[in-house]
Amino acid sequence: MAASDTLLRLRYRFVPDRLFGELLTKSWIDNVIPALALVATVLIMVWIIPGFLSVGTFSDLARQLSEFGLVALALTIVILSGGIDLSVGSMFALCVLAALVSMNVLGLPVGVALAATLATGIVCGLLNGVLIGYLRLRAFITTLVTLVIYRALYDIIFPRVASAIVGSMPVSPTWDLIGFGSFHGVPVSFIIFVVIAVGAHILLSRLRPGWRLRAVGGARRSAYNAGINVKLTVCLAYVASGILTATAAFLFSARLGSTGADTGIGMEIAVLTAVVLGGVSLGGGRGSVGNAVIGSILVLILTSGLIRLSMPGSVNQLILGLVLIAAVLFDAKWVKNRGKLLNKVYISPTYLKLAEQKARDENDVLAVNDRLGATQLIGLGQVEGPEDVVLDRDDNLYTGTRHGTIVRFLAPDYARSEVFARIGGHPLGLAFAPNGDLLTCVGGMGVYRVAPDGKVAKVTDETNRSLLSVIDDSRLRLPDDLDVAPDGRIFFSEATIRYEMSEWAVDALEGRGNGRLICHDPKTGSTRTMLRGLIFPNGVTICRDGQSLLFAETWACRINRYWFDGPNKGKREIFLDNLPGYPDNLNRGSDGTYWIALLGMRTKTFDLAMRKPAFRRRMARRIAADEWMFPNINRGCVLRVSASGEIIDALWDQAGENHPSITSTCEHKGWLYLGGVSNNRIGRVRIEGADPEWTSQGDYWGKR
């Protein structure tokens, strides 16, 4: 039994199950499979064809890529907008014709020829754009028809100018440089391509037009509702496609100096294959310049490899078609199932063993009593989710609500309340800074500061990114509780980096150390993570020595002490272990004691489940979230512990009506104020024998 337990523990400690799910959340995962396919194709080609990796191949490939890749970029932009452009091949042919007629027949300067080529592309693209964007035609069928029309135009014009094109050669060094020149061995056309590709990448991923384009492609109706001019965006996507295709045609004309009857025929299938193979999703909104480039290289290597193997054109067609089918099939299945797969595998429970609880008798300090049964209720039905409560020097009571506000109940009877500040998120832990500012950890946002006049300012919402974390943990997702050290540094806990606030119970199911302890120094403005791998760190309170703090690890049912200053700096020890329930916020009390709020009590079944990670994983995969096991938060209590970590008192609500689940306590002038994250009230109960003048602030910061 013990040996198998140890094995289980080691297995969950060292096998990083969670990485699979975390990798799936990354947006770059879409690019991994095309990139692997590219590597595999290159390796196979090198293996089959001797001398495939020669410099000559590269330079040749680079020139082809600059033309093919630009057309692929054109199609990518259109597909990102939720459409498709099959007319690129015919458009390409028309633009080649425009360039060659300008250069060879009319003998215009290169700049004018470029302008003429681009103009041809813009006109062709604009026709597509107006038809699809403004007249709302179906992209596929429309561009299929414009493919025919542009091709017919080409077939009409080409025979009339063919001999004139062949008959004269333009004398232009610039033209030759674009066509044949190279710069330090890199073809000029390839440099042009790289510049355009980088520009397009920045435009698509970093600038507003690109975001709008993706928004329109991803969810047309939502984009419209968000105020994006959908028709214009779609139209411009086709115009951009025309411009990029024209550029490609210009490079092609400069390189070959002639054109044939079959220029651009079948190009749309090859480019479509490249783009889909590269990972641009046909559904729209998903894809990047990188996808297009990877796909283009893949298709070019494939086709040039087949030509090197002297395969007939029909084999090329067959293989391209098969690859396209495979890519489209994979795309359809991937887009559909990625989310499902992520849902299934993201939850990754681990082994967590809690010590056995010893049996308790009636005289035990933890014996159930009814001292919370007589709590006075404050603001019943007026507050939702008062996770933490705190009182200022004028005895006013503050609490955060799930509506994102901080509500103030006015002394002395707390009958009247007002919204003190509106922040957003769900303000959780509260604490006063020495200057009277109210500091709060806002779930989903970060740490905020509220001045006495109610003005809200951000303190911090990010920390340093861990080097090896797959998830971007630099943003704060669920800051939970905070306290201020005597020198003004703010120490706060972040309960989990893997889940949002609404999913805190799922984190309980994992039982892994997903949380951390973070310190913000207002003097330097820096935020640094102090401790990682904590099991749902929750309450934080500074000890009276001013050099150490206590923090609760909820699912581990223990309180730790951590020295952040002084001779023991960096030391961490367990202050109180094997609690009977799940500790939430910690607060200082009178007589050197500490209050611990337990939001729920442990149960034997849940403790057992925590030792069976495979069981919890199976549960998370097979049954609906509503049916999952949940830690017991129906009944909690308040504990009072001495400075040395002994439980000296426990307060229960026997009837379970007023305050069965408690997430926070605050002792103030002989009263104990109670908050609960799922409650609709605040409670207060008289503490027998407590100093009626003791306040937490006065004790910690000194009398005013």
Partner: protein, 334 residues
């Protein structure tokens, strides 16, 4: 809901306002114009030739219409047609009986249709991409493994086979009779059978069709198999009348002509509506157009341009008459 379902039984005024009515008027106009301007147009011989020349297009359009009504599209028709017929001829010429060879060709066409349908039904690939890629695969497969010559002549000693294309029944070419017969069959299937009603249901609202218990995926597979088989039949008639089949048809604009017939006739690409008479109307109109242009001795490339522009106009009108329903159109539905 489309206009067609809102007004059962088209009355003349509504008919004239619909795209169908416009095309009908245009067809009559073109017919009158050509008859008036082109002396050789309005003759029994030419009219018969006209109908005969477009009936193959019409047969193919019937196959396409079946798929389009169910909100699909099949741009692999020509590839299936040329490859299956060419292969059948190659087999026949290598010593097997013609009947056996034709059976193999039919089996190939059905297999291709079933595979394409499965890709769409089970692979959930958009029909346009599936058929676009499948056309390339089928043609590449045929040219690589089944036959090397582009032109495949009808095998010698097939007397009855050449009757299909050249024979006459009561003075009417067999080709036209075949088109008429297929029109009748498809009309009965679409309007009188459960299969036909389900096709309309699938085209009108695919999600609702799935929920109401239509065997959606088998239905999709069946449609593409049928359209492939129809393509094969059209290929046989074509080969019989021309004594050969040319594989280069795959690279021609024939598939656009088929779409032209379907869309011009008034079968919306949204699916869910359209009848056999729409196909007949489209066929006749395209026939008049092509025949007229040929008599006027217009260059083939310019004919292509005219067809393209007419098709574009037809699609514009189609989208204005049958606007896309944002509720049932799906992401990636191009």
């Amino acid at each position: 809901m489309s206009e067609a379902t809102a007004n059962p039984g088209p009355r003349l005024p509504t008919l004239l306002k619909s795209q169908e009515g416009i095309v009908l008027a245009l067809a009559v106009l073109a017919f009158a114009l050509f008859s008036f301007l082109l002396p050789s147009f309005f003759s029994a011989g030419n009219l018969l030739a006209l109908v005969r020349s477009v009936s193959i297009l019409g047969i193919l359009a019937l196959g396409m219409a079946l798929v389009v009504i169910a909100r699909g599209i099949d741009v692999s028709l020509i590839a299936t047609m040329v490859v299956s017929v060419s292969w059948a001829f190659v087999i026949a010429r290598s010593g097997y009986s013609l009947e056996f060879a034709l059976l193999i060709g039919a089996l190939f066409a059905i297999t291709a249709g079933v595979l394409i349908g499965s890709l769409i039904a089970f692979g959930e690939v958009a029909p346009i991409f599936a058929t676009l890629a499948a056309g390339s695969v089928i043609y590449g497969l045929g040219r690589t493994f089944f036959f090397t010559l582009e032109m495949q002549n009808v095998p010698p000693g097939a007397g009855w086979f050449s009757l299909i294309g050249k024979g006459r029944v009561l003075g009417v070419p067999v080709t036209v009779v075949a088109f008429a017969a297929l029109c009748l069959v498809l009309h009965l299937v679409l309007s009188r059978t459960r299969f036909g009603w389900q096709i309309y249901a699938m085209g009108n609202n695919p999600a609702a069709a799935k929920i109401t218990g239509i065997a959606y995926r088998p239905m999709v597979v069946a449609q593409y198999a049928i359209s492939a088989l129809i393509a094969y039949g059209a290929g046989l008639i074509l080969a019989s009348s021309a004594s050969a089949i040319n594989a280069r048809l795959f690279n021609s604009t024939m598939i656009y002509d088929i779409l032209l017939v379907v869309v011009l006739g008034g079968i919306g690409l949204n699916g869910g509506h359209g009848k056999v008479r729409n196909v007949i109307l489209g066929t006749v109109f395209v026939g008049i157009l092509l025949n007229g242009m040929t008599i006027m001795n217009i260059d083939y490339t310019i004919q292509n341009l005219v067809k393209g522009v007419v098709l574009l106009l037809a699609i514009v009108i189609d989208s204005l008459v049958n606007p896309r329903d944002e509720q049932t159109s799906q992401q990636g539905d191009l």
